[in-house]
Amino acid sequence: MSLLASAASPPAPPYALHLLQASLLVLTLVGATAVVLTRQPVRQVVTLSIYGLVLALLFLSYQAPDVSLSELTIGAVLLPLLLLLTLAKLKNSAK
């Protein structure tokens, strides 16, 4: 219901929205660079998870709440989990 209500309320002033979108785009750039520059796999998973969160916010700011919801769970939770499990498996078999 709250989603419907917010859709009916007047839109935010364009400059505020543009400022939000611009800062999220910059954060996306910074985040992606951070993921690439993190060399240690386990830490890279953590930066990737934060990057997923930033992407979810970016999608939300471009009025795609449905994509944002999926990205939030897939990018910030499920993908890091699968990667961590794989890393743990590799560590186990190296023992």
Partner: protein, 250 residues
Amino acid sequence: MTPSTRRLVVIVALLGTAGFVVWGLTGLPPFGGYRGPYGFRINAIAVAQTHATGVVSAVNFFYRGFDTVGEEYILFIAATGVATVLRRLRGESEAGTDPQELDVPPTSEAVRMFTLGLLGFVFVMGWYLASHAQTSPAGGFQGGVVSVSAVLMIYLAGQYLRSRRLSPIDLLDALEAAGAGGFAAVGIGTLAAGAAYLADVLPLGNHLGAVNSSGTIVLISLLVGVEVTAAFLVIASELLEQTLLVGGER
């Protein structure tokens, strides 16, 4: 080819590519500009035709329902592939399910309290999303992945064996097949009713925005929710099992 000539060739190629990219970018429509007639047509008729106030869901599950069937089968086949690749191989042995034997790191009390407390809310949220595709930006896919994170919270709380008991692989396989098959079956049902594939043949209800307001859309969304939950849980359980229970060559 010497390294310096190779560098020269690469630089020329990169400059050429950059030139083409910039040339292409200057010809793009303005940011946010939309020229397709299809979207405006859908916006004009979707709510009246399907009674779905979440028009994205109306497109996903009704106007382009056939595309969504294909997408769902991509996920179905991916989960099947993971289950096949990660099955217990010859030479691998499964550790006992005695918690003492397992190499599970201990979890702090704070994490346990927090995740076990949130568990119920997250699960309800997942099914709220899956059942309200027609009235909100939610949908079966989003609802499905949210419910998966609820089950994974049990694992996060250090209760891996309990989460395994809660989501037995055979049941997950059956649920996954039921979700994927159910979607296709709804389409065949609409054909049997004498309409087009995935046409909205169920009654549309009287109230815009009610759960039962948009015929087959809510049914398909729930089936997608079941399929997505089961598919991701199959993938996650197979990986958990590989990591925690299956040893290498002994």
